[in-house]
C-alpha cells in the first residue's frame, strides 16, 4: 500500500446503473459447479453409464417393457435420476458449504430479496441437473434405440423435476447444520426415493402393496412422466404426474421462500 492510487471515495453509483443482484448470484452459483465440472458433471455421468452397463447386461434378456428392450426403458430413467440427484446436490452442497465456512454472509449483506435468492440458487441447480442429464443422455443413447414420442413432455418434466429437487436441496441446505445431516437427507431420503421410483423397473411389475406405496412417492411421477415423453406410454397419465409434481413444487417453494424470508438458520 505504499503507492496509493487516487480514490473516488464516497462517489455514488448512479441509480440508473443499479440492477437486481439476481444475475450475479445466479452466475456465481453456475460458475461454482462449472469450476469443478469433473466432480459435478463428469462423475455423475460415469455413474449413470455404469448403472446402464451393469443392469443393462444383467437384465438384457428380461421381457420387453412398453415393447422396447430393457436398456431402452432404463435410459430415460437414468437421465431423470441424474437430473434430480444433481439438482438437489447443487443447492444443498452450495448452501451448507457457505453456511459452514461463513461466506454466506456476503450474500446476506447484499440487497437481495428472498425471491431473488431462491431463483438464483434453484436456477443454477436446474442448469447443473439439466447439464448432467443431457450428458447422460448423449453417452447412453448409443446403447439402445430410443423413440421420442412426445418431446414436449421430456422438457416439461425435466424442468419441473430439476426445479423441484433444486428447491428441496435449498430447504435441506438451510435446515442442515452439519455435513452429516445433509448427507443423511441425501442418503436416507433422496437416494431411496429416486432408486425406488421406477428408474430400473415398471411399477406394474411390483406386488400390489408396493405398487400402491409407489404412488405416494413423488419421484415416481417425475420418472414416469419423463419416460412418457420418450415412449408415449407410462404407468399413469402424464397429466396426473404433472399435477402431482406441480403441487409438490408449490409446497416446497412455499416452504423454501418462507425459510428465506424469515432468515431461518441463516440470519441469526
Amino acid at each position: 500500500m505504499s503507492e496509493i492510487q487516487p480514490l473516488i471515495a464516497g462517489k455514488k453509483m448512479p441509480e440508473a446503473k443499479i440492477q437486481s443482484g439476481f444475475p450475479a448470484l445466479f452466475r456465481k452459483e453456475v460458475k461454482r459447479f462449472y469450476k469443478v465440472a469433473f466432480q459435478t458433471v463428469a462423475a455423475p455421468i460415469l455413474t449413470a453409464v455404469l448403472y446402464l452397463l451393469i443392469f443393462g447386461h444383467i437384465l438384457a434378456n428380461s421381457p420387453k417393457i412398453y415393447g422396447y428392450e430393457y436398456a431402452a426403458f432404463l435410459i430415460p430413467g437414468l437421465v431423470m435420476m441424474s437430473i434430480l440427484q444433481n439438482a438437489f446436490a447443487n443447492t444443498s452442497s452450495s448452501l451448507i458449504q457457505s453456511k459452514i465456512t461463513g461466506n454466506l454472509v456476503f450474500v446476506l449483506l447484499a440487497p437481495l430479496s428472498h425471491i431473488e435468492f431462491f431463483a438464483a440458487y434453484v436456477g443454477a441447480a436446474m442448469i447443473r441437473g439439466l447439464c448432467v442429464g443431457f450428458g447422460v443422455f448423449m453417452v447412453t443413447i448409443w446403447f439402445a434405440k430410443i423413440p421420442f414420442a412426445a418431446p414436449i413432455w421430456i422438457f416439461v418434466f425435466a424442468l419441473l423435476g430439476s426445479s423441484l429437487l433444486g428447491a428441496m436441496g435449498l430447504v435441506a441446505g438451510i435446515w442442515a447444520d452439519k455435513f452429516d445431516q445433509l448427507a443423511a437427507s441425501q442418503n436416507f431420503i433422496i437416494m431411496p426415493a429416486t432408486m425406488l421410483s421406477g428408474v430400473f423397473y415398471s411399477i406394474h411389475s411390483l406386488p400390489e402393496f408396493w405398487l400402491k406405496v409407489s404412488h405416494f412417492n413423488p419421484f415416481f411421477y417425475m420418472i414416469d412422466g419423463f419416460r412418457y415423453g420418450f415412449f408415449g406410454q407410462s404407468d399413469v397419465s402424464p397429466f396426473h404426474s404433472l399435477a402431482v409434481i406441480f403441487f409438490c413444487l408449490l409446497i416446497v417453494t412455499r416452504v423454501a421462500l418462507g425459510m428465506l424470508k424469515k432468515g431461518y438458520k441463516i440470519r441469526n
Partner: protein, 253 residues
C-alpha cells in the same frame, strides 16, 4: 440525517439479553468507536445494522433507511467487514469482488474494483485463488468486498484481530483516507490504542447496554481514574483509554 440511527433496540437469545434498549446516533463523516468486553453486544448490534439478524424491538436506520422495512436501500448504504476471515474457496480475488459488486446490482464496476484493489495492494493478486492468499491478504479482500459498492457507511468489526503490525498500519491509513473523503466509519476493536487514536467519538457497551457515550477527549478527561496522571491526548494515550475503559466497566452495573 444521521449516518446510523439506533433507537431502543432489544435482542434476546433465549434467556441471554444481547441488546437491552440500545440507542445511538452516529453522524455522517464520524469515525465512531464501539467498545466493550466480549459478550457486550457489539457484534449483535453490527449484525442488526447489517440485517444479518432481526432485533426483537426497536428501529435501526442507515442513512435514513430502515434496515428491515427498507432493506434494499439501507444495505446499499452500508459496507461491513466481518470479524471472521471468511472467503469462498472457489474463486479468485477479482471474481470475488466482481460477484460481490453484482450482488449489489453493479455489473459494470471494473474501474472501481481496480481502484479498490490498487489501494489495498491487491492488484498483483487479482487472479490468485482466495485459498492461496495469506491471512493478511484475505483480510484486505474482506475490506475490498465491503467497499465494492461504494457505501457511505463502513462498519469494521475487529478488522485488525490477528493482523501483523505492517498491515494494521497500512489498513488504518487507508481507512483514515476513506473517512477524510467523507465515509462514516464505525469500528469495534479490542485494541484501545487504535480506538483512541482514530475515533472521534466512542460508545462503550456492557451486557447489551450503552454505559458510556462521548467524544474520546471527553471520556479521557471525565473518567480518568484517580491516581492516573493526566496526559496529553495522543502522547502514549493508550494507557489512558485502557484505564478509563476498565473504570467505566467496573462502575457500570
Amino acid at each position: 440525517m444521521s449516518a446510523i440511527s439506533i433507537r431502543q433496540v432489544r435482542k434476546k437469545y433465549g434467556n441471554l439479553v444481547a441488546l437491552d434498549g440500545v440507542s445511538l446516533e452516529i453522524e455522517q463523516g464520524e469515525f465512531f468507536g464501539l467498545l466493550g468486553p466480549n459478550g457486550a453486544g457489539k457484534t449483535t448490534l453490527i449484525t442488526s445494522m447489517a440485517g444479518l439478524c432481526t432485533p426483537d424491538s426497536g428501529v435501526i436506520e442507515v442513512m435514513g433507511h430502515d434496515v428491515q422495512k427498507d432493506f434494499r436501500i439501507a444495505r446499499r448504504q452500508l459496507g461491513v467487514v466481518p470479524q471472521e476471515l471468511v472467503f469462498d474457496p472457489f474463486f479468485t480475488v477479482r471474481e470475488t469482488l466482481t460477484f460481490q459488486s453484482g450482488y449489489f446490482g453493479l455489473n459494470k464496476n471494473d474501474d472501481w474494483i481496480d481502484e479498490v484493489m490498487a489501494n489495498l495492494d491487491l492488484s498483483n493478486k487479482a487472479d490468485a485463488n482466495m485459498r492461496s492468499l495469506s491471512g493478511g491478504m484475505k483480510r484486505r479482500v474482506l475490506v475490498a468486498q465491503a467497499l465494492v459498492h461504494r457505501p457511505p457507511v463502513i462498519v469494521l468489526d475487529e478488522p485488525t484481530a490477528g493482523v501483523d503490525v505492517e498491515l494494521r498500519q497500512s489498513l488504518w491509513q487507508f481507512i483514515s483516507r476513506l473517512n477524510q473523503a467523507g465515509h462514516t466509519i464505525v469500528l469495534t476493536t479490542h485494541y484501545l490504542e487504535e480506538a483512541e487514536s482514530l475515533c472521534g467519538r466512542i460508545a462503550m457497551l456492557k451486557q447489551g447496554r450503552v454505559v458510556a457515550l462521548d467524544t474520546t477527549q471527553n471520556l479521557l478527561a471525565k473518567h480518568r481514574p484517580p491516581g492516573v496522571p493526566p496526559k496529553v491526548l495522543g502522547d502514549d494515550g493508550a494507557a489512558d483509554l485502557e484505564a478509563v475503559f476498565v473504570k467505566i466497566m467496573s462502575e457500570a452495573k
